[in-house]
């Protein structure tokens, strides 16, 4: 690890790290670290793909811009994590994004859930951003300097995403009767996919000190959600948890369509540059 630290001196936590910097660096992650980076990158990528739909369709123009900023942050995180992961296999971010099959994606079921109405998107945003905020807050201390550096930039950005989601949960829950009904419905549709985010497996255990143990994030996640829900007069939905498996490449039926659309052009022209 000390060796990789030495060669990664340019990438220090707090620097505005760009995917191009990671591609140009000579740090090569181990296979296990790359697998872990894939998970984080895929979550961000699939979420960005979902959020991008809202640009030109949001409830108000100001919100087009706000959701656009969030999607752009997520795509930035995805590019950094995927670029780093790709180095382990001498590939590029685009090889991973465009030429992997559905069962090779390591994202959770939560991020592939449909946008639904604005309330459902906000419910998903709330869960993702609270989870990512807790995760990146800890990842900044990772023994892997590159992961730590990516997290250092990302944590500030998802802090804002978290704030954005919380503001909207309050407004929708306490706004009108209709918005409250939709907010509750959005949370009910989202909650089955919360549990998967906090599942540990052999990879994260093996990467102790480098990866963040998902189960260790649950407590702070719950505390923040409870605080918000108390203010918004909401309750945590009591719904059965869905069977996850995204980290093993077992996805719901939504991901196939999402990837088909995302990858179609790149796959039509294999080997082309854009």
């Amino acid at each position: 690890m000390s060796e990789s630290n030495a060669s990664a001196t340019r990438i220090t936590p707090g620097n505005a790290l760009r995917p191009e910097d990671i591609a140009a660096s000579d740090v090569r992650p181990s296979e296990a670290v790359a697998e872990y980076a894939l998970r984080l990158g895929d979550d961000a990528l699939i979420l960005a793909q979902r959020l991008g739909w809202w640009i030109s369709r949001a409830p108000e123009l100001e919100e087009d811009v706000a959701l656009g900023n969030i999607a752009l942050d997520q795509i930035g995180h995805a590019r950094s994590f995927l670029t780093y992961a790709a180095r382990a296999w001498d590939k590029t971010e685009d090889d991973l994004a465009y030429f992997r099959g559905e069962d090779e994606f390591r994202s959770t079921h939560l991020v592939e859930q449909p946008n639904g109405d604005f309330a459902r998107t906000i419910a998903r945003q709330l869960v993702v951003s609270q989870y990512q905020f807790a995760l990146y807050s800890r990842l900044v201390s990772s023994s892997d300097a590159t992961l730590a550096a990516i997290a250092a930039k990302a944590v500030k950005e998802v802090d804002y995403h978290r704030d954005h989601a919380r503001q909207w949960v309050l407004r929708l829950a306490l706004g009108t009767e209709e918005s409250r009904r939709r907010m509750i419905e959005g949370l009910i549709l989202t909650w089955p996919y919360v549990g998967e985010l906090f599942e540990d497996d052999s990879l994260v255990k093996e990467l102790e000190g480098t990866a963040v143990l998902p189960s260790s994030l649950r407590e702070s996640f719950d505390a923040e959600i409870h605080g918000l829900f108390a203010e918004a007069d909401l309750e945590v939905p009591e719904v059965p948890a869905a069977v996850g498996g995204g980290r093993r490449g077992e996805h719901s039926e939504h991901l196939g369509y999402l990837l088909a659309e995302m990858q179609v052009l790149a796959r039509e022209h294999p080997g082309a540059t854009w």
Partner: protein, 325 residues
């Protein structure tokens, strides 16, 4: 301090003051007196400009989900998002003339307002992202740079901000085409096809020929418009005729030439009937564009109402606390 301003005598004095400001090439600000026709012309022009930014998001948003690399996806997202921002800047400028954004939006989705006709053409391939950036944004910038000096202050200020931000839009389009042109045969073909389709519509973005543009004269007299449609079009042709060589592509017009006598660039005939047809709503995508805007507006109504209701409740709560204290 407000004095009666509607006696004929005062109106004349106001008109003189307005005329003097225009003659001095100074700026008119929102609370200044201005002729009704000036206010109307500006409201129409700025709101149309704003609508164009908002509707113009759609052809490009159409490709965000399919962008062929993550870098291009991020760039395209940022660009389409910028357009929402530009629409907002322009609506704000138009609002200072006394028409609310809500009213302008209602006009747009009711099909009563116009927007740039070019956005009623479909973006069929990825190369269209290049051609739109290079030609459509290029034409828009050529149009907009002189508008930074428009006599109406808020419009000029909005345009300054927009022009600054748009400088990347045209370049990213050009680079998309450059990359395609240097790519595979299929990519190069895609690029040429897009340039062929967007060339004429982009020239028509400057508006009808001068002798068929009845409002231009007045707009120029008011220092809203600084150059005529044909003048700007000719300059634009001069720019792209050189740029297309760098791209290794061609323009679908073999009549482009520099007229030594007039010092102007000339181009082949444009199909103004098609222009009028599309303007009148009979373009390939008019109905689709409006439907999408209407759907976003209608689907968002409950969200806007919820936020307003929440704000009202919070304000009431604050007042209660204040009274109790």
């Amino acid at each position: 301090m407000t004095t009666a301003t509607d006696t004929p005598q005062d109106l004349t004095a106001e008109q003189e003051q307005f005329d003097r400001l225009i003659a001095e090439d100074s700026r008119i600000e929102p609370r200044d007196w201005m002729p009704e026709a000036y206010r109307k012309t500006l409201t129409r022009q700025i709101s149309q400009h704003a609508h164009s930014e908002i509707i113009g998001m759609q052809p490009e948003a159409n490709w965000i989900s399919r962008a062929p690399s993550l870098k291009r996806k991020a760039i395209l997202m940022a660009k389409v998002q910028d357009e929402a921002g530009h629409g907002l800047y322009l609506y704000s400028a138009a609002e200072t003339l006394g028409t609310s954004r809500d009213t302008m939006t209602e006009d747009l989705i009711a099909g009563k307002a116009r927007y740039s006709s070019i956005f009623n053409y479909p973006a069929r391939t990825w190369a269209d992202m290049g051609a739109i950036g290079w030609l459509v944004d290029g034409a828009a910038i050529a149009n907009q740079v002189p508008l930074c000096r428009a006599s109406y202050g808020p419009y000029g200020r909005a345009m300054v901000r927009i022009c600054k931000e748009e400088s990347f839009h045209q370049r990213q389009g050009f680079e998309i085409l450059l990359e395609l042109s240097n790519g595979t045969e299929a990519q190069k073909k895609m690029a040429q096809d897009a340039v062929n389709r967007w060339y004429a519509p982009s020239l028509m973005m400057f508006g009808p020929p001068d002798d068929d543009s009845p409002n231009s004269k007045q707009s120029m007299a008011w220092n809203i418009k600084r150059f005529s449609n044909d003048e700007l079009r000719s300059r634009f042709v001069g720019m792209i005729v050189e740029q297309v060589k760098v791209l290794g592509l061609t323009l679908p017009d073999d009549q482009i030439r520099f007229n030594e006598e007039t010092g102007k660039w000339e181009h082949g005939p444009l199909d103004w009937n098609e222009f009028k047809e599309v303007l009148a709503g009979r373009g390939p995508c008019n109905a689709q564009r409006l439907e999408r805007r209407r759907a976003a507006h209608d689907d968002g109504a409950w969200v806007r109402e919820a936020a307003a209701a929440y704000a009202a409740k919070q304000a009431a709560k604050r007042n209660e606390l204040k009274e109790a204290a």
